[in-house]
């Protein structure tokens, strides 16, 4: 690939943190592979790099040692980072790969540091969006935010993810524990995501309380995921205790891929009541594994699940409880949701999104 002037072009990615187990890190690695396969030079530059990926990326400030005329930058925008200001200074032709970020309003009163960071992310988006040749959003919801920030050319392409991690061999120890619980009766409801106010795990607890009271007294709720909000987690645990649900609501924290596979394998329903989601990788993981999904319509959720989930407009506990009961007991509905979910997941996990991204990047490079 060359520019209009005929010079070779490298398309490098910049990212705040390159982690092996998060959606953005996986996305960046898969995009790099796709760009290389298309014939570009492509490296990853990051503010922070996980030890396991030390050989996959360089620190962002090392970029000048590798810079060449005609370089194009793709910025994986997820949160506030020094990389944003660095890119603005470099003045490279820029493509924003926008994963969305949780707005400050969701952290107000809980995590002052997160409020500041989210506000800074909004400023950085406003700084970079008008300069971008192209903005790649993961949902129409995110596309709208990109446009509002001043991005002139925007397109929607799903996250490039490795959904096979949840379809692998389940961790035998976790699987055995879940089987033991399952033998006691009651359904297993699953949610995967960081424990933070925007994911609204307290709404899940309320729904579980109503579901147990009205339909299934032995039901369990598994809230899998680490936390970045100590105050919210503390409040959630206190709430669970007050409702007498300490044995029914389980918070195993962040787990391995194999353990996650065990949770999906044991789940009867995947339930998400997040107030804000830019895309929602775990929703797709549930669909991949054939777990019926019930979710609140928030942010980019509807774009992600399409017709592969039961999308509810409200999060009232009684409403959610009734939906859970129906999905758990109505075999016809389960079949319909599972089939549609598997179909939607197949679309999202095909090669098509990566191919589309490379096409769009090529088109943007031609305008640089």
């Amino acid at each position: 690939m060359t520019t209009a002037a005929g010079t070779p072009v490298a398309v490098h990615q910049f990212i705040a943190t390159l982690n092996p187990h998060d959606a953005t890190g996986t996305h960046a690695l898969k995009l790099r592979d796709a760009l290389r396969a298309a014939g570009w030079r492509s490296d990853i530059f990051a503010e922070a790099i996980h030890d396991d990926l030390a050989s996959e990326a360089r620190k962002h400030w090392m970029y000048p040692e590798h810079a060449a005329p005609g370089d194009v930058a793709i910025y994986q925008f997820t949160t506030s980072s020094a990389v944003a200001g660095y890119l603005a200074e470099q003045g490279l032709p820029l493509i924003l790969d926008f994963h969305n970020f949780t707005g400050p309003e969701y952290f107000t009163g809980w995590e002052p540091r997160s409020v500041e960071r989210a506000a800074a992310a909004a400023d950085e988006l406003a700084l970079l969006a008008p300069r971008a040749l192209l903005g790649l959003a993961k949902s129409r919801f995110s596309q709208s935010e990109l446009r509002d920030a001043g991005c002139r050319w925007t397109e929607v392409v799903p996250v490039l993810a490795d959904y096979r991690r949840v379809a692998g061999t389940p961790d035998p120890r976790v699987a055995a524990e879940l089987a033991r619980l399952g033998a006691e009766g009651g359904s297993d409801i699953l949610f995967v995501g960081r424990i933070v106010p925007s994911k609204a795990q307290h709404e899940l607890v309320k729904a579980m309380w109503a579901y147990r009271r009205l339909y299934d007294a032995k039901a369990r709720l598994h809230l899998v995921g680490g936390t970045s909000s100590f105050e919210y987690t503390k409040a959630l645990q206190g709430f669970v205790d007050d409702l007498g649900l300490a044995a029914a609501v389980r918070l195993p924290g962040e787990v391995s891929d194999a353990a996650l596979a065990a949770y999906f394998a044991a789940a009867d329903v995947y339930l998400s009541l997040s107030a804000h989601e830019g895309f929602g990788v775990p929703l797709v993981e549930a669909m991949v594994t054939g777990v019926p999904v019930v979710t609140r319509d928030a942010g980019g959720v509807r774009d992600t699940v399409a017709d592969g989930a039961l999308v509810l407009a409200a999060a009232d506990p009684s409403y959610i409880a009734a939906a859970l009961h129906r999905v758990h007991t109505d075999q016809q509905l389960r079949s319909a949701l599972t089939a549609a979910g598997v179909r939607r997941a197949a679309e999202l996990s095909s090669d098509a999104p990566a191919t589309r991204m490379v096409e769009l990047v090529a088109a943007a490079v031609r305008t640089a």
């Binding site: 107000t108 009163g109 809980w110 400023d123 406003a126 700084l127 969006a129 008008p130 446009r147 509002d148 920030a149 001043g150 002139r152 106010p197 307290h202 607890v205 309320k206 309380w209 109503a210 009271r213 009205l214 105050e231 503390k234 409040a235 959630l236 206190g238 709430f239 007050d242 409702l243 017709d307 039961l310 509810l312 009232d316 506990p317 009684s318 409403y319 409880a321 009734a322 939906a323 129906r326 109505d330 075999q331 016809q332 509905l333 079949s335 319909a336 949701l337 089939a339 549609a340």
Partner: protein
């Protein structure tokens, strides 16, 4: 077995779920009051500001915490533990009671003071609300604002001089945006009247149904090459107009152009004026006043009078040396 038409079946299920909830609620299985109590129970664990920072909620927490119980619980899992604790409580009760009485008195005084502050703040909010000036809506004179109007050509030409994004405020169905795009401009429109934008034939046009000031605040500093205002500023009160011009000043690039189409007082007061003109909190500025205001804000302004004396155009070019990052209007 999968249903023949899964979408239709899911819709049917949604309706049945809603009906099930309605029946449950009316039967008293899960009354709405119980759901509210769930909310309150969770809020009791959240930091005060997590309740939205409402002073009334914070005071309810203070009230609940004001009373300090001097009677220490004596239950114990160990044999004789309860008796020992009970003995200690009896011995210490006169002292603990004396301390907690004073602490409760102190907390009650603080709580009373906070309630007075809450009442006075509420009264202040009511007074401010009664005196606040509502924001002006779009006041459009159909005879003066249309695709064939005399000022459209000069406005399009002025906006085209500055390379970059051009915003038409109060874009309606996008008639001027369409014209500017046809002239090769990178134009888009914003209008606070969603009905007009929703019914527009977009045909690739970028039109947004949004309030004007929040939209401009979301635009990056120096992100616009030109702004065209029509029907927007005539009915604004002074403060609102000044705030709008301030935010435009930070969003226009140095050397950018501000085009203002306005009506004269004569047209504003004529019987043909739309009813919005009568209801607006402000009145149009004279052409000279516009030029003076804009020149004081760092523009070079030129006035073009309309042929019928009913309207005029002001084309103002922003100084090229002004920093887009000051003042910090965000």
């Amino acid at each position: 077995m999968a249903p023949e038409d899964p979408r239709a079946y899911v819709e049917q299920v949604m309706a049945e779920i809603a009906e099930e909830v309605r029946l449950r609620r009316t039967s008293g299985d899960l009354p709405p009051k119980l759901e509210r109590e769930l909310d309150e129970l969770f809020l009791a664990h959240s930091p005060v500001a997590g309740r939205g920072g409402d002073l009334g909620d914070a005071l309810r927490m203070v009230d609940a915490a004001t009373f300090i119980d001097p009677v220490v619980p004596v239950e114990s899992e160990r044999a004789a533990g309860a008796a020992v604790k009970k003995g200690m409580r009896s011995l210490l009760l006169w002292y603990v009671g004396w301390l907690t009485h004073q602490m409760s008195q102190s907390a009650s005084a603080v709580s009373r003071a906070l309630h007075i502050v809450d009442d006075r703040l509420g009264e202040l909010e009511r007074r401010v609300e009664s005196q606040s000036v509502p924001p002006a809506g779009v006041v459009e004179f159909p005879a003066l604002v249309h695709a064939e109007a005399w000022w459209v050509g000069p406005a399009v030409a002025a906006a085209a001089k500055a390379p970059g994004r051009v915003l038409h405020v109060a874009c309606g169905d996008g008639w001027l945006v369409r014209r500017m795009v046809a002239a090769g401009g990178d134009a888009y429109g914003v209008d606070p009247r969603p009905r007009l934008v929703d019914s527009a034939e977009l045909g690739g046009l970028d039109l947004r149904a949004e309030p004007v000031a929040p939209h401009l605040r979301a635009v990056a500093p120096a992100g616009l090459a030109a702004v065209v205002l029509s029907g927007t500023v005539d009915g604004m009160a002074g403060t609102e107009r000044a705030q709008l011009l301030a935010v435009i000043g930070t969003r226009l690039a140095p050397g950018g152009t501000l085009v203002v189409h306005s009506v004269t007082r004569q047209a504003w007061d004529s019987p043909d004026a739309p009813p919005e003109a009568d209801l607006a909190p402000g009145r149009p500025l004279r052409p000279d006043t516009w030029c003076s205001v804009l020149e004081q804000s760092g523009y070079e302004a030129v006035e073009h009078a309309g042929p019928g004396g009913d309207d005029f155009l002001v084309v103002a070019v922003r100084s090229a040396i002004t920093s887009p990052y000051e003042p910090a209007e965000r």
